[in-house]
């Protein structure tokens, strides 16, 4: 019996009068990589941001339904508690205007870790997990902006890993990256899934095929189909899924 991370029932989201997510129900298993695909405005980013409560920042945000995480209702938990456990890597590499090590230590410092030695340990561990340590270990004090795009994105992954989350959400993480950097990020994701649960929103259907154990297809705010990636891509159940995967629209 696979452990469940998330159990989502009848999730509905509105921004003002716009009904962005309609009656989404699904479960997400522990230590899986779930790819979420769909054309723009399909609600996949809204769905992802629900999982770390970032939608709370939008004005006129309304939600109905239940998202169960670790036995608790995610919607009712304190946002900080949620975000400590469920981290996010964004689409564009977004280093904070700080040094490399300060970026990685930001999370732990906010959580109260002050001990210099401990912070150094955390930095090293996180950068190693993100496959960035060797490239930056001699210049941890330099500005994060001096790194290349791909390195910055791995820095952002390290930053997220530093707070030891449970789940990592990836919001189109390779959209600004060249193929080599993309490959490195995907490689990291596959290793990370052994320790974490990963949900990946991607515009790149082929990436979903490469990486995801299961794939979810969203269209116009609804969850159309959710199945093992292999099956989705060879014999999708819904005509619309097939159309999107084949590039007939999107």
């Amino acid at each position: 019996m696979v452990a469940q991370k998330f159990d989502i029932k009848d999730l509905n989201i509105w921004f003002g009068d716009t009904h962005s997510l309609k009656d989404v129900s699904m479960r997400i298993d522990a230590n899986e990589i779930l790819s979420v695909i769909g054309p723009s405005n399909s609600g996949k980013t809204t769905f992802l941001r629900m999982l770390n409560r970032l939608n709370d920042l939008q004005p006129n945000f309304k939600v109905a339904g239940r998202v169960e995480y670790g036995g608790k209702d995610l919607i009712k938990m304190a946002p900080e508690e949620v975000r400590r456990k469920i981290g996010m890597v964004f689409a564009l590499p977004l280093p904070l205007p700080l040094s490399i090590s300060e970026n990685v230590c930001y999370g732990p410092r906010m959580l109260g870790v002050n001990n210099k030695k401990k912070l150094e340990e955390i930095t090293e561990r996180a950068l190693k997990q993100a496959y960035l340590w060797d490239e930056v270990k001699d210049r941890l004090g330099t500005s994060a902006f001096k790194l290349s795009g791909g390195q910055q994105q791995r820095l952002c992954i390290a930053r997220t890993l530093a707070v030891e989350p449970d789940v990592i959400l990836f919001d189109e993480p390779c959209s600004g990256l060249d193929p080599i950097s993309t490959a490195k990020v995907e490689e990291a994701m596959l290793i990370l899934k052994q320790q974490y649960t990963i949900v990946l929103v991607t515009n790149n259907v082929k990436q979903a095929a490469r990486v995801g154990g299961r794939t979810a297809f969203f269209l116009m705010g609804e969850l159309i189909e959710l199945d093992k990636t292999e099956k989705m891509f060879t014999a999708p159940g819904d005509k619309r899924t097939e159309g999107y995967i084949r590039g007939e629209f999107g």
Partner: protein, 283 residues
């Protein structure tokens, strides 16, 4: 006569240029006159000596000191309140009726005539709170007067910090206040400093708010506490221009020069800081 649009344009542009000259040239003249006629009076003695002979001679030291005290007091009051108010508007306020009213209130505070601030300071601090005409009353009055400047410039600085920084900080588990304190504020500091300095410049140059709340015509010694009255540069200039006869012309110009340089210098620093922070911005 045929209508020639090119010629019309030439004439129109020339007139517009003339209008611009009409503003810029007198400004230049004013500054030049004050410098030329005021510079002869400026020496170390003038700046550090007490006034003598009923202010016809001697120095303007107490006025300089008084102005410094008043401005410091005004900033100590206005900066914390103004900055927190700006944080509220930028980070917490929602798009609702209350926010609209707050913004309207700020616009109004900015537009209240300075002499009305003087009346208010008189009624509230001097009379009602019984602080009397004092540095305390004057500083508080000036502080409320520069509050809109601090709020507006700080708010703009805060709002110019990209939203993505906040999202990154929050997604790492930081609380809202932690995000403000560690990510938003440090990146808005340039604009906040600029606004503060502009506020200082304004507070230093105003006369009407301090007329009834603090300004002393002539004090034989420097103020010892915040409950004392004080002299101040703007009021001193007013006094020796209108109330005291036979003041040496260069003393008047000299005082005007000191005041003008002080205020313009503040504005210049603010502009330089704003420029350098804009260049340093890495995003």
């Amino acid at each position: 006569m045929t209508h020639n649009p090119i010629r019309t344009q030439k004439i129109a542009f020339f007139l517009l240029f003339l209008a611009t000259l009409l503003i810029v040239v007198p400004v230049g003249l004013i500054v030049v006159i004050i410098i030329v006629k005021g510079l002869p009076a400026i020496n170390w003695q003038f700046l550090t000596d007490m006034p003598r002979q009923g202010m016809r001679a001697g120095g303007i030291f107490p006025a300089i000191v008084g102005t410094i005290y008043l401005v410091l007091g005004a900033i100590i009051f206005a900066l914390p309140i103004g900055l927190l108010a700006a944080i509220y508007l930028s980070e917490y306020a929602k798009e609702n009726y209350l926010t609209r009213i707050i913004k309207l209130a700020i616009v109004n505070l900015a537009g209240v005539p300075s002499v009305v601030y003087g009346l208010f300071g008189l009624a509230l601090f001097v009379v009602f709170f019984k602080f009397g005409a004092s540095i305390l009353s004057g500083s508080l009055t000036l502080g409320i007067m520069i509050l809109p400047i601090i709020i507006t410039t700080s708010r703009e600085a805060l709002e110019s910090v990209p939203q993505s920084f906040r999202e990154v900080s929050l997604s790492l588990g930081a609380s809202k206040w932690q995000t403000i304190r560690h990510t938003v504020l440090p990146n808005a500091i340039g604009g906040i400093i600029t606004g503060t300095i502009l506020g200082i410049g304004r507070a230093a140059g105003e006369t009407a708010p301090i007329l009834f709340t603090v300004a002393a015509f002539y004090l034989p010694r420097l103020p010892q506490s915040i409950f004392d009255q004080a002299m101040a540069l703007p009021y001193h200039l007013y006094t020796i221009s209108t109330q005291v006869p036979n003041v040496d012309e260069k003393v008047r110009y000299g005082t005007a020069l000191v005041l003008m340089v002080l205020v313009l210098f503040m504005n210049l620093i603010a502009i330089v800081i704003r420029y350098r922070f804009r260049k340093k911005k890495k995003w």
